[in-house]
Structure formats: C-alpha cells, structure tokens
Subunit: 234 residues, 2 copies
C-alpha cells in the first residue's frame, strides 16, 4: 500500500472483512504513520478521533489511575486495532499507548470508520470480533496472574509468540516492558528466563529467544493444581 | 414485569436503550429465570443461544484451561448482560457462569436479540457499550492484580460496591468466591478484612460490611509508589 515507507505486511484482519469498496475508501483516507520506540501513540482520556491499526511493531497499553503511576496493561501485536471500542462509541481513549519497538500504524479518521462500519455489516462484525478478542486476552491475563508464577507466566508469554513446534521468538520490546506486562519485576523476569535456559528449554540471544521444543516449554507453563486459589510467587 | 416471581427491579440498561417497540418484542420472547446459589447459569464452550441479563443476584464467571482447574475471572453484578459478545457474534460461551447468590435472570433468545440489535441502532450501541465496559473491568482487575496487595484489593472491592460516603456493602457471595475473584486465598481475604476492621475502617457482620468512612477506606486501597513493577504480596 505504501511505497514510501516500505510497509509490506498490510493485512489488518479488520479491513479485509470489509467490502472492497469500503476498504478502498478507508485506505484512501488513511495514512501510514511510522513508530519509533518510546513514541506516544495515544493518550488516555483524549478523544478517539482516529482508528489506529498496528501494521508492524509492538505497542504497550498503559493506564493511569487517580494520578498514580502508569501500569502496563497489555502489549498489542501487529494486526490489532487500538481503542476500537472508543472509536465506535465516540468515547475518550481508556488507556494510553506507547510504541515498544519500531513499526508502523495505519491511521484512519474515526468518523470515516464509524460511517463505514454502520454501512458494512461485515466490517461491524469484524470490529466486534476484535472487541471480543481483546476481552478474552484480558481474561487470559487475569487467569495467568491468578494461577501462574513468574516462570510459568514467562513461558506462556513466549509460547503465545511461537506458533510452530520450535523456532525463534522475537522480543523487540524493552525487557522492563515485558516484565510489567507479566506483572513482575525485571529481575524476576530475568531469573525466570535464565532458569528456563538452564533447564534447556530455551536459549537467550538478546532480543531473540530460541525454543527447541514447544511441548516441553508448554509443560512448564502449566499452573500447579490448586494455584487458582491465589498462591502467586513473583 | 413478572407477577409470578416477584422481580421488581427490572431495569436492564441494555434494553432501556432500545425503542419501546423493540423492548416490548424482546420482553415478549423473554423469560425470567430464578437462580439458586451454586446453580450453573451457562457452560463454557456451549453455544450462546440465549442472552442472559442478570436482574438480581450475583454470578461468577469461570474459565477452565486445557482441562485444568476452573479460575474465577469476574463477578457480574445485576444489570449486566452475560456473554453478550458470544450472542452477537454467534460464538460459544468463552466462560462458564455460576450463581453466587439467589437472584433472577432475564433470558432472551439469541436470534431475537441479534435481529433486534441489527434493526435498532441504539440497542446495538448499548450492546457495544456493555462489551467496552466489560473490557474496562478486566483492565481494572489486571491493574489491581499487578499493583495492589491483598488488603488494597479487598478495600477496592468493597469501595466498588459502595456508591455513598458511608454505608453497608452486601457480600451475598461465598467468601471463597470473593477471594478467588481477588486472586487470593480465603485465609488472605479473611486476614485483609479483619486487618481493615482492626484499623477501624469497616465492621464485619457476616454477609454485610459497614463502612463508616469511604474516604479513609479509599486511602488504604491505593497502591504504594512503584508497586506497578510487580511487587504483590498475598
């Protein structure tokens, strides 16, 4: 779509659900925005005047409560739409978002997206699927926080990025951001990763982690019986 | 609405958003279902063939992962629609639901609700607002789990049920369910509540808790600086 910036992986699931005419109209009004690590993507409580779809990269969602420190809520992966509920409902952004790695966003005016979704049932359906999926991801995180210790959570985080039976997982985000996503200190994350490496379950290479055997790492990621009663060791 | 069962508080926000004609049609096809504590309301992975709106009572959402133990994800309050995304998207229920207290549900055939939402933009808008709200609740829970210790989480849970400056909070659920919702053991919850009572911040009376000063309890609920880095004491 964009010869200038070199983005090739333009396949946001959301827009592929729209009719070709709807998609073309949205893309005609959209722009591709480059992201540099640390760049602010959107601010909590600001009006949701653009729909932002992450084409490439990694974005962290944070929420700040009553003037307290910001808490990392989620790391959004390429393909996801940021703040889609706020765009559809004309609400302020419930969270802020910061780029955790270089990448690109597709930015579409919120008015255009709302009009397109109202006119194109398949696009509206896809938008609601994204909302439902984002809820399920938060549910999974709640379950992880309640039932898994630091090592199990780190293992599960890696597994989610590894579709194959073995291979390399990219971790382009700062380690502190990953630790905050997992609800642990950077020191706990480092201990967990090195423990998994010592057990032969992965090999650390800076921003890349090699996983030789997905099934073995999966077994380590499982909570122990009774862990849902709240025993959590960080 | 229902002379037989005596339910008087029929004001689900979702249906009040619909036009009077839509609302009347949905209520004509709906039925009020009584809930007894421990009764299964819906089963994970079953088809979402009814929209269930909790009129009165308390329902716990659980998720079971890969044959493991069920984890309490959320406690749903009166007024909320269960599994609304699954109903709209014709997906299986992502979670199971169990009544934690006596109450009543309004049950509406999913086909009727989908047709009504497709025809009534205000109803669809309200349904999406519920989805967005449910996501925000999960975000809040993630933040609590990452930044608050057991006492702070217990205080926050009580505060959410206390709109006034002082007064009584009903806890009709089994204490074990509340503890699981808060990601702690029943023993930790008991310690937290008795600690708050010893500090003069509440008085325990079985299923009711009196809060003499909301502002004082609120101060205790705040996370300490730096807690977002993952220090969690249970």
């Amino acid at each position: 779509m964009c010869q200038a910036c070199g983005v090739t992986a333009v396949g946001p699931l959301l827009l592929t659900a729209a009719s070709p005419a709807t998609r073309a109209a949205l893309l005609a009004h959209g722009m591709v925005v480059p992201l540099t690590r640390g760049g602010v993507v959107l601010e909590q409580d600001a009006p949701a005047d653009r729909l932002l779809i992450l084409l490439q990269g990694s974005v962290g969602l944070h929420t700040t409560e009553d003037g307290g420190a910001a808490t990392m809520v989620e790391i959004v992966a390429a393909g996801d739409a940021l703040s889609i509920a706020a765009v559809l409902l004309q609400l302020p952004h419930p969270v802020s978002a910061v780029a955790l790695a270089p990448g690109h966003l597709l930015s579409i005016p919120a008015d255009d997206f709302r009009a397109a979704a109202a006119a194109d049932a398949a696009l509206m359906h896809a938008a609601m699927e994204q909302m439902a999926r984002q809820w399920r991801l938060m549910v999974e995180q709640v379950v992880d926080l309640k039932t898994r210790d630091a090592t199990q959570r780190a293992a599960r985080f890696l597994l989610r990025r590894l579709p194959a039976q073995r291979g390399a997982v990219d971790l382009p985000e700062p380690r502190g951001a990953i630790a905050a996503r997992l609800g642990m200190t950077p020191e706990s994350l480092s201990r967990a990763l090195h423990g998994l490496e010592d057990a032969g379950l992965l090999r650390l290479h800076g921003r890349r982690v090699d996983v030789p055997d997905r099934a073995a790492l999966y077994r380590v990621s499982l909570p122990r019986a009774g862990a849902s009663q709240g025993a959590r060791r960080v």
